[in-house]
């Protein structure tokens, strides 16, 4: 424990170094702006910031992206509360009580509850992240390739079963990602796979190109087709934040606890990010909260539950990312990409090889949560004004960042062509209702999955039953299968119930 505190202290020293602190503040402001603008999502914002980290050392690069990730879960609530415009899907539950409270003339109080929920949820989850990461990494150190393969499979399967309007489409999206990851020269045999004689494909398709193209450019194309028409914004004269009293906080402490715990747990599950946490937490508060009957009428519990959970999910998502190299959400997939880009492979060994970077990341989560609340308290009024900024200009710069991001990675114009191709593919996926997250996670985790699978097969004489007979990998495989089957069972049960009524 003392060792952890010592390293965390060093992490804080690293974060408070002038350059890192400056980068953190920039990350916080960018994250808040991205969350406020309805055309930009949190994941897209982190993707766009990635190329700007190429020239940085790994620590400030990770701090920048983490700060954006943390603050991106917060500011969208402002526009939900003030203008009934959710900046992110995460912030939809904020309409039900946050906006209702604002309509009663209590917008300042609603913003105060949001700030406090983000602060409590963020700090509590960050503490849990620090306490849990090391033990989880120690357990993960005992794992062999079958266990790793099972865990990666579970991560991929949970992304599929969570997202998308069709499970089959989500599966096809995942398989497409896994297949894209196989393009190029195979590591074990040196064989060319799906290169079709094109020289540049021998080096493989960079996950960054897929990520930036599908998430960034694809979204711009989707919005361009709709003519970049933003919704009209209501005029609000005064934006201020009023924090609740200790007595009010004490009366809602269970909502804080529930929201934080749900956010932390949902964050840990690979593939489930802040949006799931926010909706689930609101739903549980509406079902089990002390004032469940008043939910939706503008009560603090309806603000605390989704916001505490959304911010707490950040701490949770960092645990599988750091300890096993498995991203818990879309944004952590990008942060994983940044780690890999700087030659750092997250996993149980990371505490031995690069503990100073890991603890700087941990410290940056604490500082980011406090920093974003301070910025939110003093500058919310200024930041919500970016909603008035024309989307055509923002989008033009988004495209520019996407293109520069693709080019700067390898200084290769073919990557820029590929990004346009994946941009169009991202648009088509969006249009045909294929979720993009499984595609991107498939590209990132595909090589790891294949490597673990092949190594297992070579080590265990092609005996595939080993994945099911070893206790840990068998258990994880069972959970993965259940995770995949559960939506089908749920669907059939609902259909039967509907037919019966």
């Amino acid at each position: 424990m003392l060792d952890v505190l010592h390293h965390l202290g060093l992490g804080f020293v690293s974060v408070f170094a002038p350059l890192n602190l400056l980068v953190l503040v920039i990350g916080l402001v960018l994250g808040l702006l991205v969350a406020v603008l309805p055309g930009l999502t949190l994941v897209m914002g982190v993707v766009l910031a990635l190329p700007f980290t190429y020239g940085m050392e790994v620590t400030p690069a990770i701090i920048l992206l983490t700060a954006m990730y943390v603050s991106g879960t917060y500011a969208g609530a402002w526009t939900s509360i003030l203008f009934r415009v959710p900046g992110e899907p995460i912030d939809v539950p904020m309409l039900w009580d946050g906006y209702s409270m604002a309509r009663k003339g209590k917008a300042a109080q609603a913003l105060g509850w949001t700030l406090l929920a983000a602060l409590v949820g963020g700090l509590a989850a960050a503490t849990a992240m620090v306490l849990l990461a090391h033990p989880v990494a120690s357990i993960a150190l005992t794992f062999s390739t079958p266990e790793y393969f099972a865990i990666i499979l579970f991560g991929l399967v949970s992304v599929v079963s969570l997202g998308g309007s069709s499970l089959a489409n989500a599966l096809i999206s995942l398989f497409a990602g896994l297949l894209i990851a196989t393009v190029g020269i195979d590591d074990t045999y040196g064989a060319e796979r799906f290169t079709f004689g094109v020289r540049i494909l021998s080096d493989g398709i960079d996950y960054l190109v897929v990520m930036v193209g599908a998430f960034g450019l694809g979204e711009v194309f989707t919005r361009l087709e709709l003519g970049f028409r933003s919704v009209p914004i209501e005029k609000v004269d005064k934006v201020s934040t009023r924090l609740p009293s200790m007595k009010e906080v004490s009366a809602t402490k269970l909502s804080f606890a529930r929201g934080t715990l749900i956010g932390l747990l949902v964050g840990i599950v690979p593939g489930a990010g802040a949006t799931v946490a926010s909706f689930l937490s609101y739903g549980i508060e509406a079902q089990y909260g002390k004032r469940k009957d008043l939910m939706g009428t503008g009560i603090p519990e309806g603000i605390i539950a989704p916001q505490a959970a959304a911010t707490a999910s950040v701490g949770g998502a960092m645990i599988p990312l750091i300890t096993m190299g498995i991203p818990g959400s879309g944004a952590t997939a990008i942060i994983l990409g940044a780690f890999l880009l700087h030659g750092l492979q997250p996993g149980p060994q990371v505490f031995q090889t690069s503990s100073h970077i890991v603890y700087a990341l941990f410290a940056s989560v604490f500082v980011s949560v406090i920093g974003m609340c301070l910025i939110g308290y003093f500058a919310a009024r200024l930041l919500v004004r970016v909603l008035e900024f024309p989307e055509a200009i923002v989008s033009a710069y988004v495209v520019m960042c996407c293109i520069l991001g693709a080019f700067a990675a390898r200084n290769n114009i073919t990557d820029v062509w590929l990004i346009v191709v994946f941009g169009v593919l991202g648009y088509l996926f969006e249009r045909l209702r294929f979720p993009i997250a499984p595609l991107v996670l498939g590209v990132i985790l595909g090589p790891l999955a294949e490597n673990d699978f092949m190594t297992t097969m070579i080590s265990f004489d092609n005996d595939w039953t080993v994945f099911f007979t070893r206790p840990i990998s068998g258990s994880v495989m069972a959970v993965a299968i259940l995770t995949l089957v559960y939506p089908v069972v749920r669907h059939l049960r609902r259909r039967r119930r509907r037919a019966a009524t």
Binding site: F52, Y54, G55, R84, P89, V92, L95, Y99, S161, L162, G163, G164, S165, S166, L167, A168, A170, L171, I172, F175, L178, L179, T182, T188, A191, E192, R193, F194, V220, L224, E225, L226, G227, F228, V231, V276, F279, G283, P390, I393, A396, Y397, V399, M400, L404, F407, A408, N411, V420, G423, V424, P435, F453, M454, M457, N462, P487, V488, R490, H491
Partner: protein, 176 residues
């Protein structure tokens, strides 16, 4: 059907991957073939489902269900997005972006980027021309300065006389 046919073709390609075979070990074609087999199985399932039970609602992901149920219960998901689509605008945007990627190699970063930004902003419906021009030119210069001077990324210089413009701008910005 289309996805299934594509997967079938790729399976055929995967079956012809050339490598030095080692006894008792699976080759580099195994993993892609496994994935493509799963794609084909998913497509067969979808086609069979459509044939047998028609276009009934798909099994959706849990997140979609949670969101849908909550929104149905509460009845508010924020303002509706505009429903009217403009495919021509989309095609123009994609064509413009492709043209930009094509010309950037000849014109260099600045000469290709400033007009591209201005054209994309205009395409997006922004009609204050002077502001547009200023934002595009200053934005392109700022990007060039940031990436070439601070991040040390070598952006396309252009060819012939266009390269001279880039070199001139680099001299002005102190980029070596």
């Amino acid at each position: 059907m289309l996805v299934g046919a594509g997967a079938g073709y790729l399976y055929y390609v995967a079956a012809r991957i050339q490598y030095q075979h080692r006894a008792d070990t699976i080759g580099p074609d195994f993993w892609p073939k496994l994935i493509l087999g799963l794609v084909i199985a998913t497509c067969i399932y979808e086609v069979a489902k459509l044939r047998l039970i028609g276009g009934r609602r798909d099994v959706s992901g849990l997140l979609d269900e949670i969101v849908e149920e909550s929104v149905q219960e509460r009845g508010d998901a924020g303002p509706e997005a505009p429903a009217e689509r403009r495919p021509l605008l989309l095609v123009a945007g994609i064509a413009l972006t492709a043209a930009y990627v094509w010309t950037i190699q000849w014109l260099g970063f600045f000469l290709a980027t400033a007009p591209y930004l201005a054209a994309f902003i205009a395409l997006g419906g922004y009609r204050r021309w002077l502001v547009n021009a200023a934002i595009s030119v200053l934005g392109a210069l700022a990007m060039m300065f940031f990436f070439m001077k601070l991040v040390y990324v070598s952006l396309p210089l252009g060819q012939g006389p266009f390269a001279q413009v880039t070199f001139f701008l680099m001299r002005v910005m102190g980029i070596h």
